[in-house]
């Protein structure tokens, strides 16, 4: 009954294609591109993607105007020879100003012109320095301003900021990246394993269909449904070094050495993040595993009981193998979710103390938005992307291609 699609029907998926294209594919491609450039938005010369050399003619002309303005004010202090040279320089500056004014902010000029102009700026700096040193001490001189302006002239020449694989070369030797990767893996592994064990236990209990399942569902859905940012704030209070009840409890029963050490030691802070995550996502795991459990035919258990299989044996020999696909899917989704964790860490520990809970997302965000270094930040994200792809492939291999790979079977 499934038919081929006509053009009219194709129109129905256009909105999906547009949204996925604009808000998912385009950003991925762009991020990949960022990774090949030294792209920093806080620096005029790198705030763009320059494959070639460019020349900011407007800026060049503007700066020359200021050079002339300052020079003409100070020329009175120079000796005769210097003054004549300064006048000649100002004439030449005016010529360049006329040539380049309002020509645009990134025009293409030949390599020869570029080196000629760069040489001109270098010579100018040397000459001006000479005149001032010949003039000796001047009380109100514009020398400092001139130095700044002449330095600025250099920024009119925009070098190509295409760096090829340099960001990735830096990434493979970046110890902070490896530390963040390690934190991410520790966080992901421990929290997913704990969530799985607790979720499985709860699912087995709820599967016995005892009274009050509705209450348990509601109660456990609440932590899952609130924003992670909100749960991070709640736990931050519970962990507070002076007034946090959970931190006090842990200190009282001797898990931590003192109440304050919960958030001040690296192990304490990492455990804090893991506990908060386990608290929030165990219900999710529980519901997924419960759904998997409920698909198992009850008759299988009866046969097992008749064959004299004990409860533990039945669980490992029958329940677990029959639930393999639900378990794998639950673990895959949770693993990928935990691997990209940002909000919990950012608001609970801020990556601290001393970067000891900094995950890959937090590190990438810090580089991209904290330092405006989109180029290297994107390289980190692409590194993360590769890790995610590896994790997904490993799970799909373990799972068998039929569940995730082929949409028809879902």
């Amino acid at each position: 009954m499934i038919k081929r699609m006509t053009f009219k029907q194709f129109l129905f998926i256009i909105p999906l294609l547009v949204l996925i294209g604009v808000f998912a594919l385009y950003p991925i491609v762009t991020s990949t591109m960022y990774g090949f450039f030294n792209y920093r938005t806080n620096n005029q010369q790198t705030n763009g993607f320059y494959l070639k050399h460019y020349f900011n003619a407007n800026l060049f002309a503007e700066n020359l105007k200021y050079v002339n303005y300052y020079l003409s004010a100070d020329v009175q202090y120079f000796d005769e020879e210097s003054a004549a040279a300064a006048a000649a320089l100002m004439d030449q500056n005016t010529k360049y100003m006329d040539q380049y004014v309002d020509q645009g902010t990134n025009i293409t000029i030949s390599t020869e012109t570029t080196s000629e102009l760069e040489q001109y700026v270098a010579d100018m700096q040397q000459q001006v320095a000479g005149w001032y040193s010949a003039a000796g001490e001047i009380e109100y001189s514009n020398q400092e301003n001139l130095d700044i302006i002449m330095g600025d002239l250099g920024t009119s020449f925009i070098k190509s900021n295409f760096v090829g694989g340099a960001n990735y070369q830096k990434l493979v030797t970046d110890s902070r990246f490896y530390a963040a990767l390690q934190h991410t893996l520790v966080f992901t592994t421990i929290s997913v394993v704990l969530e799985f064990i607790l979720g499985m236990a709860m699912a087995l209990i709820l599967d016995k269909a005892i009274r009050g399942i509705g209450v348990i569902r509601t109660a456990s859905l609440l932590p899952w449904a609130i924003p992670t940012a909100v749960s991070a704030m709640i736990w931050r209070y519970l962990y507070d070094g002076s007034y946090g009840i959970v931190a006090k409890l842990f200190a009282d029963i001797g898990i931590t050495s003192s109440q304050a050490s919960m958030m001040l030691t690296s192990t304490g802070a990492m455990s804090a993040a893991i506990i908060a995550d386990v608290w929030k996502t165990t219900p999710y795991m529980m519901l997924l595993l419960l759904a998997g459990l409920q698909t198992i035919d009850r008759g299988v258990y009866e046969s097992a009981a008749i064959d004299g299989s004990g409860k533990v044996r039945t669980f490992f020999r029958i329940t677990l193998p029959l639930m393999k696909s639900s378990i794998m899917v639950a673990l895959l989704f949770r693993t990928l979710d935990a691997f990209r964790i940002y909000d919990l860490i950012a608001l609970l520990t801020g990556g601290g103390p001393a970067n000891s809970t900094e995950t890959l997302s937090v590190y990438a965000y810090q580089i991209m938005f904290g330092q405006s270094n989109y180029g290297y930040g994107s390289a980190i994200v692409i590194g993360m992307f590769v890790c995610v792809a590896v994790i997904a492939v490993v799970f799909v291999k373990l799972l068998g291609a039929d569940v995730v790979g082929n949409p028809e079977s879902r």
Partner: protein
């Protein structure tokens, strides 16, 4: 006799485990509720661990609502999440209809693409989207709702496809014979018949959008456009930490979620299961 006794012990252990689970799940909420009625002096002082406040007060609620913009952030969250829910349900229905009913070249590729989009780290889209919104001059606006499609649309399409496949084809054939267009068939036949799936998709989309932090923290930092997660995060950095105020704010923003969970828990459970488990 001993069999029954050991059975009773096992039963008791189960209940202890369940009660423990419930206590741990709900204790944090209970504790912030307790704190939200304490004056700040008690939270910081000797009364920090007392359950009943010596001088209970609702001042914290007055402050967070009147001065800290919590209601405004709830309004913003409702707007962006509500709009997101509407267009995601519409777009996902249209595509799920085609995917569940027709064959076309690249269908497997499209489904694979949607699945991979739901798996990749969101961090990869944040930088380019920030620059895109900056260049369009729409940072700090409700337009952010469109950017939420990256996190909500893929799973919405998955859930809808699952549900649309369960609607019998015979009804559509009848509708077609009666002269119904495919547009009419989708909205008047399939959409109502797949209503449980639509409700599940809608509620899951709404919750995902409501809870989104990374994009809104990056693109909507203006006070007037902050959503709930962003606003609550700012309470920590913007002022000295007043735990009693933060607790009150947390209670205020948890109320909408609580209502949603109470009303729609069936749909939420279905959404969690549909979103991940093979049917």
């Amino acid at each position: 006799m001993s069999m029954r006794k050991s059975h009773a012990i096992a039963q008791l252990m189960l209940y202890v485990f369940i009660v423990l689970f419930l206590v741990i799940s709900l204790f944090p909420f209970f504790w912030i509720l307790v704190t939200s009625f304490k004056p700040e002096a008690e939270v910081m002082g000797a009364g920090a661990f007392r359950i009943i406040a010596e001088n209970p007060t609702v001042q914290n609620y007055v402050t967070v609502i009147a001065e800290r913009g919590m209601l405004m952030s709830i309004k913003n969250s409702f707007i962006v999440s509500g709009v997101c829910m509407l267009y995601v349900v519409a777009v996902a229905s249209m595509s799920a209809y085609i995917i569940s009913r027709f064959n076309f070249r690249g269908k497997a590729l499209l489904m694979g693409l949607i699945l991979s989009v739901s798996m990749f780290p969101q961090m990869i889209v944040v930088g380019p989207l920030f620059n895109m919104y900056y260049n369009l001059g729409i940072l700090n606006s409700y337009w952010i709702t469109l950017a939420y499609s990256t996190i909500t649309l893929p799973s919405a399409v998955w859930i809808m496809v699952t549900h649309f496949k369960q609607v019998p084809l015979a009804l559509e054939e009848a509708a077609k014979i009666d002269g119904c267009t495919i547009w009419g068939t989708l909205w008047r036949i399939i959409f109502p018949l797949a209503a449980p799936g639509v409700a599940t998709t809608a509620i899951m989309t709404f919750i995902a959008a409501w809870n989104e932090y990374l994009l809104s923290y990056t693109m909507n930092i203006d006070y007037n456009y902050q959503t709930v997660p962003v606003r609550i995060g700012y309470l920590r950095t913007q002022f000295t930490i007043f735990w009693s105020e933060i607790s009150a704010a947390t209670i205020v923003v948890t109320i909408p979620t609580l209502i949603i969970v109470l009303i729609f828990q069936k749909q939420i459970v279905a959404g969690i299961v549909n979103g991940a488990v093979k049917e």
